[in-house]
Symmetry: C3
Subunit: 342 residues, 3 copies
């Protein structure tokens, strides 16, 4: 792919400073870019790299322009403009419409003629695959699954019966959507399985990271709204609801029936117990444990800081004495007050 | 599926209050059920929803009966009775006995004629698949695997060589059973792999959640006893033993050679170090870290509570000073005692 | 497999004490070994089992020799010697060179004639599979992937476009290598995907555990150096670099752009934030949270110890008061000092 800087400026809605006819062949970091590439500076902290960059053009903010020794595209949000421009240079997966001869398609499935079904994919009874959707190699759709237009399942994805995925989604390899929720009724010492009858209903423009698992609802549905972005190895329990444009980083786990608002951010390794609600706009920092509903937007944390194991052992032992320490502190305060009076 | 309330009462061993000839077509929540459905009330806290339910019958306890405006099935454990009744209405996966033409079956494998081998499944040498077992699409059984009667592997499951799964099991999509344990012997800076020669031996009535991984034993076996229920994305190390009817919630991890008793409950995200033992009847709350054996049943926890990040930062810094604080507190107590004496 | 003790001693570079013509048929634990087996004692704590072992020979250190009632192989590192010997007795997966008739191979792929491509594997355009490499059943290689000599992909593995795996690797079932990094640029409330254009570049002698996921780089590559050993269900973010012979235990997660040195050990469930660096030789204990760079080798920890839930609740509440407690403690010290002076 080769594009002029003028083309790129138009595409990213940027102000061009420099040679609009210059031809760009790819993207790179400020430190690593080859001549002929375009790079970006989104944090002024890295301004020093402008001096040494081999990039032929840099996307940056007005405030950094004076330090830029090469062509520049000036925008408010360089990372966003970079994302748009990099997409032009991303290699296309060569996917051709049609059904690979090795795929197994139920006669009752409806696959749009512009869709692509990869090698060794399995499409169950009554499935619907929309226009320009791509079902990658080794993917399995159980019966009654629907996949919206322009959605891509990368490879070895499993979608269980009846689940629905909207348009323009991206479901990475190894994802399992619609597996049974973990519902057990106890009968003396033994557990009886509670049938999981709801589906997973995923909106449009949703990305689901590799090996993430999303449980189907017990009676009603598990719901992932439009624009939600899930990273790898996330676990979503049955009947969870995730509001639109919420972002969840890898290895987080949401227990059943919990409701997460819109525009929330959960960092990596966060755990939420079941049956709680998070307001819109809540941010949780990494590895935090959330055991109660959060009614107000804001940034929340839990956990303890790292130290040398030797130091940590000494302090961790004291954690078990905290309540005792707090009581003794109060007692000391009382006694001292008495002493001072007397 | 359509069944009379009298049928359902018989099936759930319930006392019927109302019209036994009323025909029920499905299940629903108290809030969401359509007319013609049956719902349940297992927690009196939700008793208020009885007034507004559109369900035509409700499974409940004697104590809630007087508040129920519709037909009722009275039982001691409504959730258990619901589980039994919902199973009657669960859609059947249409699985027909026999081997799909696209499956790859070793000539030396013994597949019961009532078993079902799905599209693109791979059954290795000397495998045994029992009566009415279902091996779903994309599943891989390496050589010498045995799968008991009525067990189902959903899809894209991998069972490594020699492993054994009992009867009536349910192994969800993406599960890997019998992968090598993480055994490394150090030789100067380099690690040499320790061969993992044991198998995974899984009892009857075991459920394994999506993308869970269970390591094979190093010399002897990894053992999962009857009735164990594992949720999604759990990691079980080599030579772990899990006692019967123990339940482990998603994203927990058990390091090698640890022994968990019967009837234990591990909530989500729990971590156990290796080479410890948990007594029967132990419960661990979510995200706890277990580094020592627990000899007595009971409920155990670790972790820190969530607060605003601003508050959390102030407190977390102090965690590093805890031992120092404890010593200063003791010193103050001494000095104050001296002052009071003097 | 049957080998004399003299053979085994030669193979493990051990001093043989006993009958060199004795024939060994397998390995076992000290407690579980059958006659005709060889066992090992690597920790003198377990010396008592020497008295009861049915093993016909034991690998041990000089210091334990006098307690050994059977044949012995004396070495400095019994576990390492055991690893070498056990490898001789490990059952061989019967893998024959060649391409299974059900595999789907792009005409532009170059598969070495000594490589083995299993049933229902998919090899994309321009892939290169080296000598004696094994691509197991259900594995998917997108376009342009290269797999080095003697590397084995077990089953249902997905390697995304352009990624490179070195020689003598072992990639367990369900692994996903080269999935998109989690790069999002915010545009008002909506997130725009940042193309992930780098690859994952994996060195030689690397093991990757089941269902682990490794993200491709955003612009430059994610790099796993020679001899790295990754356990199951690990998540490696985009542009992470892991130094040679570093070992990471199950369920750990490394956020994007973090650099881990050589010869590090991360225990299970550890989390590292992005954009930090760990020096060579760092060890992190289980479930620790690492939020800052570590410039010196050493052992580091975070977390809180387990207690009964009742005790834990009392102490956890106080965690929220820690800063307040620290201030009050300081105030008391001041006041007491004043009192003592006065």
């Amino acid at each position: 792919v080769s594009l002029t800087l003028a083309d790129l400026a138009r595409h990213a809605d940027a102000k061009l400073i420099g040679d609009g006819q210059y031809v760009i062949h790819g993207v790179g970091t400020l430190q690593g870019a080859a001549p002929g590439s375009i790079s970006f500076l989104s944090n002024s902290r890295y301004r020093k790299y402008l001096q040494i960059t081999q990039a032929s053009a840099v996307i940056l903010q007005e405030q950094d322009l004076e330090y830029c020794p090469v062509n520049a595209l000036v925008v408010d949000n360089p990372y966003l403009a970079y994302a748009r421009i990099a997409a032009l240079f991303a290699p296309r997966q060569e996917v051709s419409a049609g059904i690979h001869h090795s795929a197994i398609i139920s006669p009752s499935a409806r696959v749009d003629e512009t869709a692509s079904i990869g090698p060794l994919a399995v499409i169950g009874d009554d499935c619907v695959v929309g226009p320009r959707a791509t079902i990658g190699p080794g993917c399995v759709l159980e019966q009654g699954v629907s996949v919206g237009n322009d959605t891509r399942l990368v490879a070895n994805v499993t979608i269980c019966w009846g689940c629905r995925i909207g348009a323009r989604g991206l479901i990475h390899a190894g994802v399992v959507i619609g597996t049974d929720g973990f519902g057990l009724a106890r009968e003396r010492d033994v557990y009886i399985k509670v049938p999981q009858l709801g589906i997973v209903d995923i909106g449009d423009d949703v990305e689901v990271g590799a090996n993430t698992t999303i449980d189907r609802g017990t009676i009603e549905n598990t719901i992932i709204e439009n624009g939600v972005k899930l990273d790898n190895q996330i676990q979503i329990g049955h009947n969870v609801m995730i509001g639109s444009n919420t972002v969840i980083v890898a290895c987080s786990a949401i227990a059943g029936s919990t409701v997460i608002g819109k525009n929330c951010t959960l960092a990596g390794g966060v755990g939420l117990v079941g049956h709680i609600e998070l307001a819109d706009g809540v941010t949780i920092t990494g590895m935090s444990m959330v055991t109660k509903s959060l009614n107000k937007p804001g940034v929340y944390s839990s956990g303890t800081p790292l130290s040398s194991s030797e130091q940590w052992h000494k302090n961790a032992v004291r954690f078990r004495q905290l309540d005792d320490m707090a009581r003794r502190l109060k007692q000391l305060e009382k006694e001292l007050a008495t002493l001072k009076k007397g």
